[in-house]
Structure formats: C-alpha cells, structure tokens
C-alpha cells in the first residue's frame, strides 16, 4: 500500500483537489496545463464571448495531426501510386475511408473556424493594445492554415486535386517579377507533376505543420502574456480613454517596483514581477468574479473538444471524402476550379489577373496584418466602433459572395450559370 502511495505521490505532487491550493497546483505544477492561469474570470468563460472558436480550431488541428499521421502510413507521394493509395484506403484499409474523411472534413472545418475566430476577435476588438502582435501571429496562422489545406489538396492525385492546384498556382504566378519563379519553386517545374507532388507532400507533412506548431505556441503564450482572454464586450464600461488600464508600463510611468503586498489578494507571479495587474481594468468587484481554472475552464474545454471530435466523426461517418478520376494533365475539366477558399480569388482573377490575383489579395493580407496598428480607436466597445465593424462586415461579405459565386455560379468557360441550371455537354 505504501509503495502504491509512493508511486502516486511521485507522479502527482499537488495537494488534494478539494483544496484551493490543490486546484492551483494542478495547473502550475503540470507541464500541459500550466499554459492556463490558475484562476480565470468567470465572465470570460461565457460561450457567447468567444464561442470557443480558438479552442475548436486547435482541436481540429489535433484531429488533423493524429489522422494525418495515420494516413501517412498508407500514402506514397508519387504518381500514380498516390491515387491507388486513396483507392486502397477506400476499399481495403480498415476504416480507411473514415480516416480520410475525418482528415478532409477537419481540414475544411479548420479553415472555416480560423476565419470565424478572426471575425470574433475583430468584433470584440481584442486585437487592441496590448494584443496587437498576437493578432499578427493569428493572421500568419490563418495563412498557414490555408497553405496546409492547399498543399494537402494535391495529395490524392485525382482530377480535382490536379486541376485545383494547377489553377491555384497559376493565380500565384500573376504576381509581377517573382510570381513565375515562386510557382516554379513550389512545383519543382513548369507544371504540376511528380516533383510538385513530392514538394507539396514535404510542405504538408513537415514544413508547414512545424511552422504551425511553433506559431501556435507563440500564439498561446502571448494570450497569457497579454493578460489572458480579453474581457467580454458586455463587461466593458464606457470609460474615459486615459482611465483604461493596460499592461506593459508606459514610458511616462515611474520605474517598475514590486507592488505592495495586500493581505486581501492573492498575487500571480507575473503581477509580483511587473508590479502590474494581469487583467485589464481590474477592480475589487471583478476580483470576486474569478474562479479556479479547475474545473470551470477545463470542463468547458473538454466539452468543446468532445463536441468537435463527435461533430467531425458524425460527418465522416455519412460523407466520404471526394475522389475523382486519376489526374490527367491532358484532360482539363471545364471549368477547372481552385479549392473553394481560393474561389473568391479565382473569381477576382477572372475579371483582372493583376488586380484580382495580386493586388487585391496582397492588400487584403497587408490590411489584416496592419489592422491593430491602423485602428487608433482605444475603445473595444462595439458602440464606439460602428464604422470599422461595418467595414469589416463588408469585407467578410464581399469574400463570402465571391466564394459563393465562384463555387456555385460558375459553369463551363467560367460563364455565369446558376447551380439549378444543368449545362448539357458541360462535362465533355
């Protein structure tokens, strides 16, 4: 009995979870959990504040990593074996199509959730001081997500993959000066072929996931360092700008010094070091409002995780991942379409290659990156930010409309054809 207790205590060193100390130690003595604060604001946990979109995105990434590693066991990145491996997954590998479907749908889901997460962060103004840089990291993560999805799109080596990547990389080549070279570097040649498949595979399973993991670590770390989740917008008081407390010592303030200890408050290490409260606009009333991460935050994360997993599994059980004919460079489908999230771009390109394919997306990305530095309005309350919210809503709407038009309303020859009209002979 003693031995068992000794083993247990060698693993778990914290006090029992019934005590507040135990609850805190569960978090900061645990390498996996210590990215959380020991205590969080109860109000920040509300679903209608964040919709847990960041968590869901991360969980989708976890699903993608696990299913992706399993898929790697069955995949050879050279044509035409790559395509045969898809068929083998479908027909002979135990639960192979389920696995591939989960990977596919989780990938699409991740693109959607990253975007929605960005919209939420924008709406709540959470990119504002001191979180400007984390927004930039987030935009980079969005680009990485698109890159991962795009490189994965080619791997099945079917007609859908081949032509989507051909069209996608063609859009990239419209960039002046470097466009052609970048395309050649990416494809390892002038057209999509064996070299391109290998390069996309390497990018998809090694380079981009590594970059993704590194930036995700930065993203999470910065969430903590920037003061945890932003306050829900409904908790924000209409305060005079100068009264807003933000962390990071302004230059005008006296040198840092340890805050005087108060017997009525527990201090986090960071507060002791910086002499500043972690949370923005901390007031004694709000201090009452905090709860231990265990179990309040953890149970919510666990529910979000299981909801994500079950949703993806349910979809994958009923809908197989698409697979068309073997890639055939001699047989161009009409119309050849890029992956759906690039169809807005393709739609723009169909109007003007340079403006739509280069200028517009470059401006879009630059604008996204610069938003926290351009938006000088210090208030995060939506009522104070009506103009910019409308502008952002317009930006989202334009993107959605372009994607919907590109996906459903474009027929042979990129002619405007409503989805309910069947084009006779369109396939030939």
């Amino acid at each position: 009995m003693n031995l068992i207790r000794e083993i247990w205590q060698s693993i778990v060193r914290r006090d029992p979870l019934s005590t507040d100390k135990g609850k805190s130690e569960l978090v900061f003595l645990n390498v996996w959990l210590h990215i959380h604060p020991a205590k969080v604001k109860k109000e920040n946990l509300k679903f209608r504040h964040s919709f847990y979109l960041g968590f869901i995105t991360f969980f989708l990434f976890l699903i993608l990593v696990t299913t992706g590693i399993a898929l790697m066991c069955y995949y050879r990145p050279y044509p035409p074996q790559a395509y045969q491996d898809m068929k083998d997954l479908q027909f002979v590998v135990f639960m192979g199509s389920f696995l591939r479907a989960m990977h596919r749908w989780a990938a699409h889901g991740m693109v959607v959730c990253v975007f929605l997460h960005m919209c939420r962060v924008f709406y709540t103004g959470s990119y504002k001081k001191p979180r400007q840089f984390n927004w930039v990291v987030g935009v980079l993560l969005l680009l990485l997500t698109l890159g991962l999805s795009f490189t994965g799109y080619l791997l099945p080596w079917d007609q859908l993959a081949f032509w989507a990547i051909t069209v996608g990389t063609n859009i990239g080549s419209y960039a002046p000066l470097v466009g052609g070279q970048v395309r050649e570097l990416l494809l390892g040649g002038h057209s999509v072929g064996e070299a391109a498949l290998l390069r996309f595979y390497v990018l998809h399973v090694a380079v981009l996931p590594a970059a993704m993991i590194l930036l995700t670590i930065v993203h999470f770390w910065r969430v903590r360092k920037d003061g945890g989740l932003s306050r829900p917008v409904w908790k924000l008081k209409p305060a005079k700008p100068e009264a807003l407390v933000t962390i990071g010592a302004p230059a005008t303030v006296a040198p840092l010094q340890a805050a005087p200890a108060s017997s009525s408050k527990t201090y986090g290490l960071m507060e002791v070091v910086s002499g500043k409260p972690i949370f923005e606009t901390v007031t004694p009333e709000e201090e009452e409002d905090t709860v231990f991460s265990y179990p309040y935050a953890f149970v919510r994360e666990a529910v979000a995780l299981m909801a994500t997993v079950t949703a993806i599994m349910t979809i994958s059980l009923f809908f197989h991942a698409p697979l068309e004919e073997l890639a055939n460079p001699a047989k161009t489908p009409n119309p050849a379409k890029a992956p759906w999230y690039f169809l807005g771009l393709q739609e723009l390109v169909s109007h003007s290659a340079l403006l739509g394919g280069v200028v517009a997306p470059a401006l879009m990305v630059l604008a996204l990156l610069a938003i926290p530095y351009l938006d000088r309005n210090p208030s995060r309350r939506p009522v104070d930010r009506k103009l910019i919210l409308w502008l952002f809503a317009f930006f989202v709407a334009v993107n959605l409309v372009l994607i919907v038009v590109g996906t459903f309303f474009r027929g042979p020859g990129w002619a405007l054809v409503p989805p309910w009209v069947h084009v006779v002979g369109g396939a030939e």
């Binding site: 479908q90 027909f91 192979g96 389920f98 529910v303 059980l317 001699a330």
Partner: protein, 462 residues
C-alpha cells in the same frame, strides 16, 4: 451549470465511443464478406460430411487480388468472383460462375479488367463494375468485350475477332488519319484518337457516330462516310481497343498472333516471290519453298530469316527486319503455301516494277496511310462536302496539274492551306488542308506528288 457540463462531457464521450464503434462496424461489414459466405456455403454443399463442411465454412474472409505490374493494375474481382478458375462452378450462380474458354489468358496473369473493364481496385459491386462517378471505364457490354483483345494484340489478325482487323484496315484505308492523330501521326482537324478507348464513351455512341456523325455530335466537321452497320461496329471495336496503355513486355510481346493469314500478307509485302518459287511457280533465284518447313527445323528457318549469311555464307537473300512473331507467321504460311495460291499472288503482279512504279506505289501508300483519302477520296475524286469552300466540297485532285506545278503542290502539302471561300463574308469552312511538314519527310511528300501526277487526266482539248 458545472454539473450539467460534466454530464454533457460524459454524454459526448459516450457518443464519440458509439461513433467509433459505428465506423468500425461499417468498415467490418463490407458486401464482399457476404458474397464470400454464400460462396463457402455453396462449396460446403459438395462436402461429404459435417466435419468437412464445418472446415469449409470456417475459412476466414479475405480479399483476393491479382497484382499485375505489367498491366499497371491490381484486380480484386476474384474477391467476389470466387469460382472463375474452378470448373466445378460451371453452373453456379453469379458472381461465382466458372469462366470457360479463357485459353492462355489465365486470371493470375491477366486479371479481369484488362478485357472486361471496370474498377479492379474496388471491393463493392457498383464500384468494381465501374457504375460510379469518376471512374472512366465501366464494365464493357458483352457485345463489345472482344474489342479488348486489341489492347495487346495490336497487329496482325486476332483469331475470333475479325472486327478488329477489319476496323484497323478501315481506319488505315479510309483516310481517318487525314483529320485524326493516332500515336502522333495524323491531322488535327478532328480529336486525337490515341486514347479514345480510355474515354468514358459508350460503345453505342461510337457506333452511332460512325453511321451519322452529325446525329450524335452536332456540328461535327466529320463527313458521313456511309459506313455499313458492320463497318461501324468494326471501327467501334478498333476505337475501344485504343487505350494508349503501357503494356508490360510480357503482354506486348504477343501483340501479333503468328497465323498463316498474316504470314501470307508478309509474303506478299516482302515480295518473296521475286526470288523464290513454290512448287515451281515463281522466280528461280532462290530455292523452291514448297515443303521447306519439313526439310529444315523451325530454328534453322528462323535463323535464316534473321541473318541469312550466318546460316548460309554467301547467300544473296536480304536481311528482313522481322520480329519474332512475324517470322513465326511467315513460317506458318510457308507450311501451308500451295502453288495455286502463289499463282494467285503472282497474277496480281503483271510485270516487274520500275523505280518509278515503286515511287508511285509508295506515294499511293502514303496517300492512304496518312489519311489524304479521307477527304480527297480513294480515287482522288474529292467531293466531301465542305460548306462555303469554293465549289462547296473538297476538290478532286484528278486535274491538279492543270492549275499547279508539281513544286506548288508539294508546297501546299508541306505548309497546308485554307480553302478559298465561295462567299467571302460566309463562315469558315470546317475542313482545311493541314500542314504535313512535321509529319511527313520531304521524300514522302515527293512520292505523293509522283502518285498524283501518275493519275492526272488531261482535259479534253478540242
């Protein structure tokens, strides 16, 4: 609230477990297992006692597959079609029935899909039979399966499939290459036919197309050749055999079946009768060939055809670049050659050929082989409709020397030409003269001109 959340977490976890079980159940109950169980029951019926029956029924389900690296395919058809090689399953219900009359085409060497079409990788019925989206070759209908013989047997006669030989012959003589490319040679007015058999086109479509091109492909520039139904079927067979697949050496080595008919064709083509005789009929330069196959061993004769001087120093017989099966075919013909038959061959040749005759004959061959006859006619009569071209049709070439010099004609063949318009504001005529300089050598083009000039009919002068 916290309690409720924990309950939700617990419920979702159970749901996730249930979903995994459902996915595993879905993966573990494929339709092929059902087929294998019924097959085992069928087999068990033949067993004498209960123990043997139980042993048969206890056979674990397993996917059967034939890996055909030479044909670049994996066929899993025998996972369900379990009795294909078992003669006792002659009267069994499908999918277990024995496949009779396979000859040398054993499934372990050839699989199934090379002849039948369908999706060899699939393990469910619809997928395997190719009746699904995104699979270009569904199972061939029974009437057309024999067309697949032509995928490997690309030359000579295929026993039991006269359609293929005839279709191939029609293709090469009716001038199809004038508009269509096949294996890199031909015009570009119509689509390239190199992989036509691999397109998802119903055989019936092809057949109707040959009968009346415009009926199935509106606005097609293809003239109506007034093929008979049999000819349309022959051409359809030939088209279906054109899959442009890379056949492994094992399969491509048998592309020509060595039969006496093909041997006779070679005997005529290579003009053996110019030196040899058969039973006294023919020339006397070389030895008489009647009964030659009984006088020498097959190996000796084969060697003689490969390198005559090695076998018989000082032999004046030229080396003919014949491949293995062509030599076999020639020997097969020699074994059956009779003086009467050779007389028949001789009767077609009235006199010895002069170099001019050879040039004209070569030109005639080119004229047919590269498809000029498709538009200009086998007798140079022209007449294929070409709306809004001068005269409304492709011109006859019988009077070409009245309007052009030989060099001008050679230039037109080399560079191609758009036909002069009947009505300058009208539409562009669908047919035009393609440029042949990248396909034909100058030598070939000159021969064609020689041929044309040999056929010129001078206008009556009065």
């Amino acid at each position: 609230m916290e309690r409720r959340l924990q309950q939700i977490f617990f419920a979702l976890s159970l749901l996730a477990l249930a979903l995994i079980v459902a996915a595993a159940w879905q993966a573990n109950t494929p339709s092929w297992k059902t087929y294998q169980r019924s097959f085992l029951q069928l087999e068990a019926q033949g067993e004498p006692n209960a123990v043997a029956k139980a042993a048969v029924l206890a056979t674990p389900p397993v996917i059967h597959q034939v890996m055909l690296t030479g044909l670049q395919r994996v066929d899993r058809c025998t996972t369900c079609h379990l009795g294909v090689e078992d003669p006792t399953m002659k009267n069994a219900p499908e999918p277990f029935r024995y496949h009779a009359n396979l000859g040398p085409h054993i499934p372990s060497k050839f699989g199934c899909t090379i002849c039948h079409g369908g999706q060899g990788l699939a393990t469910d019925k619809d997928g395997a039979h190719g009746n699904v989206d995104f699979w270009p070759n569904p199972l061939l209908a029974k009437d057309y399966i024999r067309a697949s013989c032509g995928r490997c047997h690309k030359e000579g006669d295929v026993p039991g499939v006269p359609e293929l030989t005839e279709g191939r012959h029609l293709f090469e003589t009716q001038g199809c290459r004038g508009c269509h490319k096949l294996n890199g040679v031909g015009g570009s007015i119509g689509p390239d036919l190199t992989g036509e058999g691999a397109n998802r086109r119903a055989p019936e479509w092809l057949e109707r197309h040959f009968l009346t091109p415009n009926a199935v492909s509106a606005g097609s520039a293809m003239p109506n050749f007034h093929f008979s139904k049999v000819q349309a079927r022959d051409l359809t067979y030939y088209m279906l055999s054109l899959t442009n697949e890379d056949m492994g050496s094992y399969y491509s080595s048998v592309r020509l079946i060595p039969g006496p008919e093909y041997g006779r064709q070679l005997f005529v083509e290579k003009n053996c009768i110019a030196c040899h005789s058969v039973g006294g009929v023919g020339a006397k330069t070389g030895p008489d060939l009647l009964g030659v196959t009984t006088r020498h061993s097959t190996q000796w004769l084969d060697e003689q055809l490969v390198n005559p001087e090695l076998v018989y120093p000082g032999s004046s017989m030229p080396e003919y670049d014949l491949e293995t099966n062509a030599r076999k075919a020639l020997l097969a013909y020699l074994a059956t050659a009779t003086p009467d038959d050779v007389q028949l061959i001789l009767s077609r040749k009235t006199r010895a050929w002069t170099p001019e005759d050879v040039a004209i004959e070569a030109g005639k061959q080119n004229f047919a082989r590269f498809g000029c006859v498709g538009c200009h006619g086998t007798e140079l009569q022209g007449g294929v409709a070409n709306p809004n071209a001068q005269g409304g049709e492709v011109p006859s070439l019988l009077h070409v020397s009245d309007d052009y010099t030989k060099d001008e004609v050679i230039a037109i063949i080399r560079n191609g030409r758009a036909p002069p318009l009947e009505n300058t504001s009208g539409p562009t005529p669908p047919l035009y003269m393609p440029s042949w300089k990248h396909v034909l050598s100058d030598e070939d083009i000159n021969r064609i001109a020689d041929y044309l000039w040999s056929k010129q009919q001078k206008k009556e002068s009065w």
